[in-house]
């Protein structure tokens, strides 16, 4: 250390602190996107393949079973054919015994889409360096996201618990609800796919909520303000919109088709 004068030390330190701007010196951003944003896009691309594989598998397995041939009014659960989704998902919390096909899942879809809107609003506020607005919209996103996961928990609880009547199974016993090896709604794989697809999506929402919580704390502490940009909100926003995007597909292929 004695060979380096304090002045040289200070110069080299400031040279390290400055971002390098040369094209071949790390100063060039491919696609005009930062490293973090680009990597988030590539991660989401790989995640899209995972979910696409899940949904394609659903289509393949569903196609292997006979479709229900009778009229929708006369539909009963049977392990012989794939159930009609609106006959399985027809209950609403607090309205026991009333047939409300797909009403709850439609509400859940709207909640998640709305959380996506509040997320864009948070990103937009970040561009304007409006710390208060970023906090506000992140909190709204957290609220809607938590509501969605709670709704899904209720949906799972109801699916596992089953209907009051249950279904007379092949072995002569009446079975209520579902688990991974037997269910009252249809073929075993129907419930398996329900648990895996909505469960994997729910895990993604939960991870998103953890990231949003971190984002809110960091915004409140002024971390992003000191950094000079709210890019972290943007990156986590990308992830959150992707989770919403996946739900749009799950909604179509699991509940509508």
């Amino acid at each position: 250390m004695s060979t380096i004068s304090p002045t040289t030390q200070a110069v080299s330190d400031s040279a390290l602190d400055k971002p390098r701007t040369g094209t071949w010196d790390g100063g060039n951003e491919p696609f005009n996107a930062s490293y973090g944003k680009l990597m988030m896009w590539f991660f989401l691309l790989s995640d899209a393949f995972t979910f696409a594989a899940f949904l394609t598998t659903y289509g393949l397995i569903r196609h292997r079973y006979m479709a229900y041939a009778g009229s929708p009014e006369a539909f009963t659960f049977s392990t012989k054919y794939w159930p009609i989704p609106e006959k399985v998902f027809n209950s609403f919390p607090g309205l026991h015994g009333i047939d409300l096909p797909l009403a709850f899942v439609a509400l859940m879809t709207m909640i998640l889409i709305f959380s996506s809107v509040t997320m864009v609003l948070a990103v937009e506020a970040g561009h304007r360096f409006d710390k208060k607005d970023v906090q506000k919209w992140l909190l709204w996103t957290l609220l809607f996201g938590t509501t969605f996961v709670s709704c899904q928990a209720w949906e799972w609880g109801h699916f596992i618990g089953g209907t009051d009547a249950g279904t007379l199974m092949n072995d002569g016993t009446v079975f209520h609800g579902a688990n991974l090896s037997v269910n009252q709604y249809g073929p075993v794989l129907f419930a398996d796919l329900f648990f895996f697809i909505t469960g994997f999506h729910g895990t993604h929402v939960f991870s998103g909520l953890c990231l949003l919580t971190y984002c809110f704390i960091a915004t409140t502490n002024g971390t992003f303000e000191k950094r000079g940009h709210y890019e972290m909100v943007e990156k986590i926003g990308l992830y959150w919109h992707f989770v919403d995007l996946v739900w749009v597909f799950v909604f179509t292929f699991f509940y509508l088709v």
């Binding site: 951003e29 491919p30 696609f31 005009n32 996107a33 930062s34 680009l38 896009w41 691309l45 899209a48 393949f49 696409a52 594989a53 394609t56 598998t57 289509g59 393949l60 196609h63 292997r64 929708p72 009609i84 609106e86 096909p101 797909l102 439609a106 879809t109 709207m110 889409i113 709305f114 996506s116 809107v117 997320m119 864009v120 609003l121 937009e124 506020a125 970040g126 561009h127 304007r128 360096f129 409006d130 607005d133 000079g228 940009h229 709210y230 890019e231 943007e234 926003g237 990308l238 919109h241 992707f242 919403d244 995007l245 749009v248 597909f249 179509t252 509508l256 088709v257």
Partner: protein, 108 residues
Amino acid sequence: MANPSTQPIHAGEIPKPNTAWIWKTFWIITAITALEFAIAFMMPSSTLRNTIFIVLTIFKAFFIVAEFMHLKHETKGLIWTILVPMSLLIWLLVALITEGNAIHNAIF
């Protein structure tokens, strides 16, 4: 879109929010969802209905990815980098539909 890190930090003065495009996109997505929901009850199940559902879902996906995820406003290179690998999914679909019988016979 300008990289946020290159924008100057506004000291004190905070610009007015520009959110009209966000709400417009929201209403489009909501309308498509409502339409899907209506079709689910007004039309008997058929291949045509499934096709309509898939087309409407891709519309919704377009608005989420293009506007909310801002992909439409990125460079062409980034857009193609994300979209081109998606074509592998077409291969996945074709492979599983044509080989589906063999998979089913092997498992069950």
